[in-house]
Amino acid sequence: MTPHITPVMLGQVIVSGLLAGALYAMVALGLGLIFGVMRVLNVAHGPLLMLGAYITYFLFITVGLNPYLSLLVSMPIVFVIGVALQHFLVRRVVDAPELSSLLLTFGISIALVNVAQLAFTSDLRSVEFITGAFLVGPFAFSKARVIACLFAAAITALAFLFLQKTRLGKAIRAVSQSREVAQVCGIDVHRIHMLAFGMASALAAAGGSLMTVMIAIQPEMGAVYTFKSFLVIVLGGAGNYPGALLGGLLLGLVEQLASLFLTTQVNEAVAYVLLVLVLLLRPTGLLGGRST
């Protein structure tokens, strides 16, 4: 059943894995940000990604907006949705046992997915914007995926720059290190939580917008990205932001290699086995993170 594997195929798969990985890393950075700042695992992260995808889709269908330009619309809209979710709902369970926040975001996620199903139906939709591939020597790379990877890398770099260099970014990192001490230093923790949730939602939306050009979208597409993003932060080490980059690239690589040696059908199962293995062998992540 396994065809003969040539070095060219292997090289192709490795590059495709890294391309997909950059996107995973960006989306996972969002999930990791919320988790790091307020110890809340946002189950609705994937559905927020789905919202970003639909915004891009409808902007393309109705006014013909370039899907990459629509990042400038989808990210702010979902940012605002994220801030609102934090302000009205999640804020109340930040200090509660994690059962509450898990269930709350799970409830939000169900509601979002089904509102989308009601509004947009469950039909698969896709944007035919860029097709074809770049041919480099013996390799062929889907144009949409290469561009998505570049955008993802740029957005991730900007997010890191923001976290490292600006006062607000420093405040976010301070809150994720110790909320009490940050509060004593005069940081408005509630505002930082809203900002972090909004930023994380915008990162998810960016992922959704970029995916619209690559794959067909539908309302239930999000759940698997909540799972994969979590896997990425576990791989990198919870609370370790650069670790998310490594984790994302690793997940992309492992998935692509698995689809070469096995079949694409088992893609999700591979990610799952990876999660269980990491939890068994190295629960603090590959780079080591803060224990929870």
Partner: protein, 308 residues
């Protein structure tokens, strides 16, 4: 309070008596409806055992239901008697719970919740992938057999058994240990409780009934396919029933199952997406406004014992 304690067991005995003779005069439809209610009670109680008592949220409990359904269906097709096959379904569900629980329950935090969220998807993919065993996307047809009444009793028995087990657990030291883990796991460890061991016990117990019930449901439906036995909405419904009725209580899941199932049958089944938006809304509302559920509120207001 005292009066209440006297008439409650009597009313319960009467109810059980009525339910045990119900199939003698009920229509076929009536039996099927009650059988499904029993199924939901068993599922909700099982979710309560792990998530209500220890506070570890299982987002994929339907995985055990599907595991039981497939095990039973495969065995029945091979010629095994269905009651035996359903028990085997329960055993396989417990084995699966052990495989997942061992790596994921050692850690605190949301690892377990997310692992369970993915488990269901993975099993569904696997069921489609191993076509030789499961029939893949085409599904499996079981030989026709009219056993509604016997399945009614079997479901009822499972629902009763899980509820009785919950009573025994909540009133025992084992249950106290589980609830200590829920309230403060670090403190529980400091008091000498081997938290990992008790979490695993609770998880294995909570997987058994969904496995058996999944097997019985497969026999009852006569035909299963990956999407029919691994639907996310089943997990959602279990969670809503428990939260609504009162998590961590004995009768809360039963109360939640009866109320929600009744409404579902009467009204919501006609509006699947609106129905699920409502379920999501109920989860959000209960967590924010009424975290202890109906029974929790009643317990507080009327000073009922904790063992309700």
């Amino acid at each position: 309070m005292k009066r209440w304690a006297r008439w409650f067991p009597a009313a319960l005995a009467l109810l059980l008596l009525v339910l045990s003779v119900y199939p003698l005069w009920a229509t076929g439809y009536g039996v099927r409806v009650m059988l499904q209610l029993f199924m939901w009670i068993a599922l909700a109680q099982s979710w309560n055992l792990i998530s209500g008592l220890t506070g570890y949220v299982s987002f994929g409990h339907v995985a055990f239901f599907g595991m039981g359904a497939y095990t039973t269906a495969i065995l029945v097709v091979k010629g095994v008697a269905w009651p035996l096959a359903a028990v085997a379904g329960g055993v396989m569900a417990v084995v699966l719970a052990f495989v997942i629980g061992w790596p994921c329950l050692r850690l605190k935090g949301p690892y377990f919740a997310i692992a369970m969220l993915g488990l269901n998807e993975v099993l569904r993919v696997m069921a489609s992938y191993f076509e030789g065993l499961t029939g893949g996307g085409l599904g499996l047809s079981l030989p026709t057999l009219d056993a509604s009444v016997r399945i009614y009793y079997a479901m009822g028995l499972v629902a009763l058994a899980v509820t009785a087990a919950t009573y025994v657990i909540v009133t025992s030291r084992f249950g106290l240990r589980l609830m200590t883990i829920r309230e403060d796991e670090v403190a529980a460890e400091a008091m000498g409780i081997d938290t990992f061991r008790y979490k695993i016990y609770a998880f294995l117990l909570s997987a058994a009934a969904p496995g058996i019930v999944g097997g019985l449901a497969a026999r009852d439906m006569g035909y299963i396919e990956p999407i029919s036995v691994f639907p996310l909405v089943t997990t959602i419904t279990m969670i809503v029933m428990v939260l609504f009725g009162g998590k961590g209580t004995i009768w809360g899941p039963v109360l939640g199952a009866v109320i929600l199932f009744t409404f579902q049958e009467l009204v919501w089944a006609n509006f699947p997406h609106a129905h699920q938006i409502l379920l999501g809304g109920i989860i959000v509302a209960v967590v924010l406004v009424m975290p202890r559920g109906i029974l929790g509120v009643l317990q507080q207001r009327y000073n009922l014992p904790r063992t309700v």
